[in-house]
């Protein structure tokens, strides 16, 4: 009996991206293996919240990919037997002040011009939609459920895996990859050495998210992804405090360095780079976030962050003061400097592909990323031009 295994393609990493890529490849007919160093969904995709919206994306490619993915989620929710708790719900980007409202209006206009259904609402309509929100807010940017949905992120990973197994996917969890062998002459992918033995394949897809650089190193590739930490607080089950996903427009500020608003916030909130967001889950808990910090791979929750999130959240929803927090968690986003993921082949290593670096959008963009990767591997043109996501841009 030999311990050697043969696959058309091997996907490394079983987060939202890797499981979606594996699903699309298996469905395409490739004999596919999914290698994960821990359990399915043990990385960022179980340490996040999971809204898929277009209103946190720049007009253009970013938004186009977001909407395509959101539409695709609806289709998958109908097709899949495994329930990933797909829930369309509107999103409100709340503006505290007139200048924020003006900036949001400009953004809204640009998106409307491209055909997306967003609109600005005044403070009266805001308090009708959200009876529990502070009354002194200026207004909000509203995105309807057509462009704003939520899913359960780790159930999504289980769902992609479960559905892919119907097309013959084989999974290797708790898998340690010690070596990736390349051909001496062509530098092409040949095999991987693992605790399950040698796995032969001519193609691998690096979907290791924030850890993609470490997988890259195994073949001398330098992949410019950094971990960017975020923290969420979970409340006890409560009567519904909000009807939509709520974010503050200042969130944009921390997401795109190019947009520079001055918020009137405490030093603690500023230092912790807090971007308030609130949503209720299917189990009637509230998720309260969030922030963005560079802290390496340390995902222990910091008490200063917790304090700052609570302070900021109560500014928008004062009733939170008397609601109990039952848990906190932190995770890392796979951050790329230009805020675009890498979905690409790699010129220097034939058979090497990368789908990683989705920062705060990896759940949202997972369906479309899997589809793109299957098209790239099959050598077909992608639905729309994604040359901006090419690994070449770092050369």
């Amino acid at each position: 009996m030999t311990n050697e295994k043969y696959y058309d393609i091997v996907v490394i990493g079983a987060g939202a991206i890797g499981t979606s890529v594996a699903y699309h490849l298996a469905k395409e007919g490739y004999k596919t293996a999914l290698l994960e160093r821990g359990d399915i969904a043990s990385g960022s995709s179980s340490h996040c919240d999971a809204v898929a919206v277009i209103c946190d994306k720049l007009p253009g490619l970013d938004t186009k990919m977001g909407q395509a993915s959101i539409d695709y989620f609806g289709k998958l929710a109908k097709e899949f037997d495994y329930d990933f708790e797909y829930t369309p719900k509107g999103c409100l980007y709340v503006c505290e002040t007139e200048p924020e409202f003006a900036a949001a209006s400009k953004y809204c206009e640009a998106q409307q011009k491209d055909g997306y259904k967003m609109r600005m609402i005044d403070s009266r309509e805001l308090s009708e939609m959200e009876p529990h929100i502070s009354k002194d807010l200026y207004g909000a940017l509203y995105t309807p459920p057509e462009s704003s949905v939520a899913v359960n992120p780790y159930r999504l990973c289980f769902a992609f895996t479960y559905e892919a197994e119907k097309f013959g996917l084989e999974k290797y969890t708790y898998c340690k990859i010690t070596k990736i062998n390349l051909n001496d002459k062509t530098n092409a992918v040949e095999s991987l050495e693992t605790n399950y033995g040698t796995i032969h394949t001519k193609r691998i897809v690096n979907c290791a998210g924030a850890w993609a650089p470490f997988v890259g190193k195994l073949t001398g590739l330098s992949i410019p992804i950094e971990p960017r930490k975020g923290t969420n607080l979970v409340s006890e089950q409560t009567p519904r405090l909000c009807n939509n996903k709520i974010m503050e427009y200042g969130y944009m500020m921390s997401k795109f360095d190019s947009i520079n608003f001055k918020r009137k916030v405490s030093k603690l909130v500023e230092d912790q780079n807090i971007a308030f967001n609130l949503e209720y889950t299917n189990s009637n808990n509230l998720l309260v976030g969030g922030n963005r910090l560079f802290r390496g791979y340390d995902i222990r929750t910091e008490i200063e962050t917790v304090k700052a999130i609570c302070e900021r959240a109560m500014r928008f929803f004062p009733e939170l003061a008397n609601i109990k927090c039952i848990r906190t968690y932190s995770g890392v986003r796979p951050f790329v400097k230009d805020h675009l993921p890498i979905v690409s082949d790699v010129d220097s290593i034939p058979g090497y592909y990368i789908a990683a670096g989705h920062e705060g959008d990896g759940i949202c963009l997972s369906p479309i990323t899997g589809k793109f990767m299957a098209e790239i591997v099959a050598g077909r043109p992608t639905d729309f031009d994604i040359s901006k996501l090419d690994f070449k841009r770092f050369a």
Partner: protein, 96 residues
């Protein structure tokens, strides 16, 4: 010990998860308390697994033939007891 546990017995009362649900999660690939939790919600309720975690560990131990001590624990995430957002903002949390 879990020999005696019927599949329809409730393990996690907060989230109404049964022995059978947990065995199925293990068949689906869960190897530890967190893996079971993500597949079944066991330990995600108000008590955060304080009541059921030991039992979940025992079931995993029995099903996979590993010592209960190697079945992990649901990582302790502050706050250690439920505290209001108001108290947390002021920093009123016990050190732990």
């Amino acid at each position: 010990m879990s020999e005696a546990l019927a599949d329809d017995m409730l393990v996690c009362r907060c989230e109404e998860v049964t022995v059978g649900d947990i065995k199925k999660a293990i068949r689906d690939g869960a190897r530890d308390v967190v893996g079971v939790k993500r597949r079944t919600r066991a330990g995600m309720g108000l008590c955060q697994g304080r009541t059921c975690e030991k039992l979940v560990q025992q079931i995993i131990s029995k099903e996979l033939g590993v010592p209960a001590s190697e079945t992990g624990t649901s990582s302790v995430r502050p706050p250690v007891r439920p505290v209001t957002f108001g108290e947390l903002a002021k920093g009123d949390v016990e050190d732990d």
